[in-house]
Every structure is written in structure tokens, then in C-alpha cells.
């Protein structure tokens, strides 16, 4: 690990100013991605600004919105009573991610900004990684790519955004609050992430030094039915091969409201508005769910290792929809 200066931030504005002024400075919160990648030599900040003492933790309800401080841990959010009752699929996604130890460390802001698990990104001895060095190529497209993306992917990059939590959050149109030296702004999570294109090193709309301070999560209606289905190679403590976050609210005999997003398959947490449109106004049926899954997985980019995910993610979504619809009867 390269040497760095450790700074403990005492105040939000000071932390933002410190990191913004130094192009080689980074924030440190839970550390579960940051320290790991520093050990691997992938991240080499010369200064780490520890923000864990800043007053940015805690969950507060304001009407039908839950405001979650960026330093709230995954375990804390999963234990929140409002999440249990009004965002059950978010709770499921949180508890199906990582382990208790990691969830006690990892923060909501850090979870959104976690870096990909792509082994070629995480190994600096591999020269070809457009995410580490723009224009250097992508080793994964010709490598071992079982855990990689098929949506938002291209020959430039097939690295997955591995967050489970972010999948229901994009389905819910959560809003991220940011603080920079010039003030505050809010960005819908559906517009926060950037698909890689030919600049996979640019992962989101953050400018250097901008800090996530909170996330606003709209609550589901009390009569909605939601589920998070995660398919993986072992039953626990494993990243998703595919996953689906689904919330449905029925209006008479038809689907009145639908929220759909996919995980394990996207270069970003993959919101599927096409699937939502294919569901709205129709009665739940296998045919409708299958059509929604077809709509969600358009133009996949596959390599040998990821071709199986096209069918698997459609089936994952259909099963999640059936589960959610089953809960309606």
C-alpha cells in the first residue's frame, strides 16, 4: 500500500474542501472497498479523509419519504422499522448482500459508490483495463467473465456494479443528495450512474470532492407487494449472478404500479422502465411477466462467459414478478 496522510474530518464543509482541493485525496467511510483496493494497489490516494465521525448517520421519515444519512450502515438501514414495513424488498436486498461484519462497516453512501468486483480491474498487473486506464482495453471481454455484465456493456467494459441495495433503490427512484464546495444538489439515482461507453473510468456524475450526504427513498404504498430475488453460485455471502427487485401495486384486477430493476447483469444498477411499462394496466399473468422480461433485456452484450445470463435474468425477473403477484392474492 502506498503511503498516505490520514486526516480525521470534524465537519462536513471542511472535509469537502480538503478532498476537493487535493486531486489525490479520497474519502474514507466504512473502508470495505477503499482499504481493500488500496491493499491491491488499485487505489493510491495520498490523503485519506476519514468522514466516519461526521453527523451524517441516521434514518428519518418525512411523510412518504425516508431520508437516510450517507453514513448509516447497511445493518442499521435493514433494521429500521419503516424499511421493514414499507420497503421490504430493500431490506431483503440489504440482508442478502455481503456478511454481517461487512454490513456493520459499509455505509449507504459507500455502497452506492462501491467499485466493481471485476478481477481484471482489481489486479493492477493486468495492463488492459479501461476503468483503471482509459484506452488500455478490456481484459475481461476475452477473459473469465462469469460475474460480468450484459446490459450497458460493450467491448470497452463489462464490469458489473455489484450492489444489491442499489437495485431496489433505482427501482424506487431514490434521490441522492450531494455536497460540494459550491453548495448542495440532488440527483435522482436513475441519473447518478454513467454507463461506461468508451469512458468506463467515469462511473457516476460526482465531481472530485463531492460528497454524498443523504439518500431520499420514496416509500412503497402500504398495499404494494415487493420482492428481491438474488440468484448466485452459493446460498449466502456471494455476489449475484442475476437479481431482480420488483414492487407491484394492484388496482382492481390489474397492475396499477410497477417498479422493476435488475442486478448482477448491469454495468450500473439496472432500472427497467420498459418492463414497468409492459406491466402497467394489465392483469398479472405468466404471458405478461414474460413480455416484461423480454422488454427489460434488450440488446444484451454477451461474451462466452456471460451468454447464460440472458436467459437466467429473464427467468429471475419472471419468478420475482410471480412471487410479488402471488403476495397480492
Amino acid at each position: 500500500m502506498r503511503e498516505f496522510e490520514y486526516v480525521r474530518a470534524g465537519e462536513v464543509g471542511q472535509a469537502v474542501a480538503t478532498v476537493t482541493a487535493d486531486p489525490d485525496a479520497s474519502y474514507l467511510a466504512g473502508g470495505t472497498t477503499q482499504i481493500d483496493l488500496m491493499k491491491d494497489g488499485v487505489l493510491e490516494p495520498d490523503r485519506l479523509v476519514d468522514i466516519t465521525r461526521l453527523p451524517l448517520a441516521g434514518v428519518a421519515r418525512d411523510g412518504d419519504v425516508l431520508r437516510v444519512g450517507a453514513l448509516t450502515t447497511m445493518e442499521e438501514l435493514a433494521a429500521d422499522p419503516t424499511v421493514t414495513v414499507r420497503l421490504p424488498f430493500l431490506r431483503e436486498a440489504l440482508l442478502l448482500g455481503a456478511s454481517v461484519q461487512l454490513r456493520n462497516m459499509a455505509t449507504i453512501g459507500g455502497n452506492l459508490l462501491q467499485r466493481t468486483r471485476c478481477r481484471y480491474f482489481r489486479d493492477p498487473t493486468v495492463p488492459a483495463c479501461n476503468k483503471r486506464h482509459r484506452g488500455s482495453g478490456c481484459a475481461a471481454v476475452r477473459g473469465v467473465a462469469r460475474m460480468h455484465a450484459i446490459l450497458g456493456a460493450s467491448e470497452h467494459c463489462i464490469a458489473v456494479h455489484a450492489s444489491d441495495m442499489a437495485v431496489p433503490l433505482v427501482a424506487l427512484h431514490a434521490v441522492v443528495h450531494l455536497r460540494g464546495t459550491g453548495g448542495e444538489r440532488s440527483v435522482p439515482l436513475t441519473e447518478f450512474y454513467r454507463v461506461p461507453g468508451d469512458t468506463p473510468d467515469v462511473e457516476n456524475v460526482l465531481t472530485h470532492g463531492e460528497l454524498i450526504t443523504a439518500v431520499d427513498i420514496p416509500l412503497l404504498p402500504p398495499d404494494a407487494h415487493s420482492t428481491y430475488l438474488k440468484i448466485r453460485d452459493r446460498v449466502s455471502y456471494e455476489f449475484a449472478l442475476t437479481s431482480a427487485a420488483v414492487a407491484l401495486r394492484f388496482d382492481g384486477g390489474v397492475i396499477g404500479e410497477a417498479h422493476v430493476a435488475l442486478g448482477g447483469v448491469g454495468t450500473i444498477p439496472w432500472h427497467a422502465p420498459e418492463a414497468e411499462r409492459a406491466l402497467r394496466g394489465l392483469p398479472p399473468s405468466l404471458e405478461v411477466f414474460t413480455a416484461a422480461a423480454e422488454a427489460a433485456v434488450r440488446d444484451p452484450f454477451t461474451v462466452e462467459g456471460t451468454a447464460f445470463k440472458v436467459e437466467l435474468v429473464k427467468r429471475t425477473l419472471v419468478r420475482a414478478l410471480r412471487t410479488a403477484a402471488g403476495g397480492a392474492s
Partner: protein, 161 residues
């Protein structure tokens, strides 16, 4: 670069002058000689380095020592009181819940927390919420038995467990 840290480990304050890169795991083992906490993968994948920070289980390999100023750290050495093993330690011995033993202190720290979290309701729940601790010898069945026994004794009124 150096950083001054006071680590509170098992109730005792230690004033340390550390390289900023030192993890809590290395500070415990190399700085304080508390080698009960084990270094397995050193990348947050195996759980061997599990300790408690302010009563919650965390991975000491992905925690910088400098971040722990003012936080109460508990390691496996801090579980026994007056030479008497913690009920979870006792149960691990009784049920032979290990083979090589390398993952055991992490398993025990996690199990103590699991019981405090109220997540030992069924074998399936124990397995799920212990899944962050890998055992390459495959001692899982006896680990579950040991935890189950302590849970049942707690349920019988032994709240000191």
C-alpha cells in the same frame, strides 16, 4: 506517515504511534501482541479477523487502526472473565467445533454477536448470519451445534451468556 492513536482494547487503553497504513488487525497482532485475532485472507472475504467495535462485529483487516480512536474494541482475548471461558468458547470446545482452529476465534466472535443480535432462532438462521466466517476444514455442523446449545441455555434463563 505516522499517526497517534489510542486504542481501547478489551477495556485497556493503549497509546500507539503507527504508520497510517496499519490496519486494526496488524495493530492488534503486531503492535499489542494480541495474536488471537487471525489474519486469513486479509481482504475481507473470510471472517478470521472478526472483532467487535462498540459491540458490533467488524472485520479488522479492512479497518484502519487510526479509525478506531475512541471506539471500544473487543477481541477473543477479551471474552473470558477471570480465567473462565465465555459460554460460546466452552461450547466450541465441548462440540469440537473446529479442526485446524485457524478460523475459530473469528467464528467465536461472530457467534457471540449473532446471539446478541437475536439471530440464532433456527439452524438456517444461524448458518445465514454466520456465513461471513469461512471454515475450510468444514466444521460447520459442530459450529451450529455449539451456537444452538448456548442459545438454548440463554433461553433457559442464563442471560449471562
Amino acid at each position: 506517515m505516522r499517526v497517534a492513536v489510542t486504542l481501547t482494547v478489551n477495556g485497556v487503553d493503549h497509546r500507539l504511534d503507527l504508520d497510517s497504513r496499519v490496519t486494526l488487525l496488524d495493530a492488534l497482532r503486531d503492535g499489542l501482541g494480541l495474536t488471537g485475532t487471525k489474519k486469513g485472507c486479509d481482504q475481507g472475504a473470510c471472517g478470521a479477523c472478526t472483532v467487535m467495535a462498540d459491540g458490533k462485529r467488524v472485520l479488522s483487516c479492512l479497518t484502519l487502526a487510526a479509525q478506531c480512536e475512541g471506539r471500544a474494541i473487543t477481541t477473543v482475548e477479551g471474552l473470558a472473565a477471570d480465567g473462565v471461558l465465555h459460554p460460546v468458547q466452552e461450547a466450541f470446545v465441548r462440540h469440537d467445533a473446529f479442526q485446524c482452529g485457524y478460523c475459530t476465534s473469528g467464528q467465536i466472535m461472530s457467534a457471540v454477536c449473532l446471539l446478541a443480535e437475536g439471530r440464532a432462532g433456527s439452524d438456517a438462521e444461524i448458518r445465514e448470519f454466520m456465513s461471513g466466517n469461512l471454515c475450510r476444514c468444514g466444521a460447520y455442523p459442530n459450529i451450529v451445534k455449539a451456537i444452538r446449545e448456548v442459545r438454548d441455555r440463554m433461553g433457559a434463563g442464563d442471560r449471562d451468556a
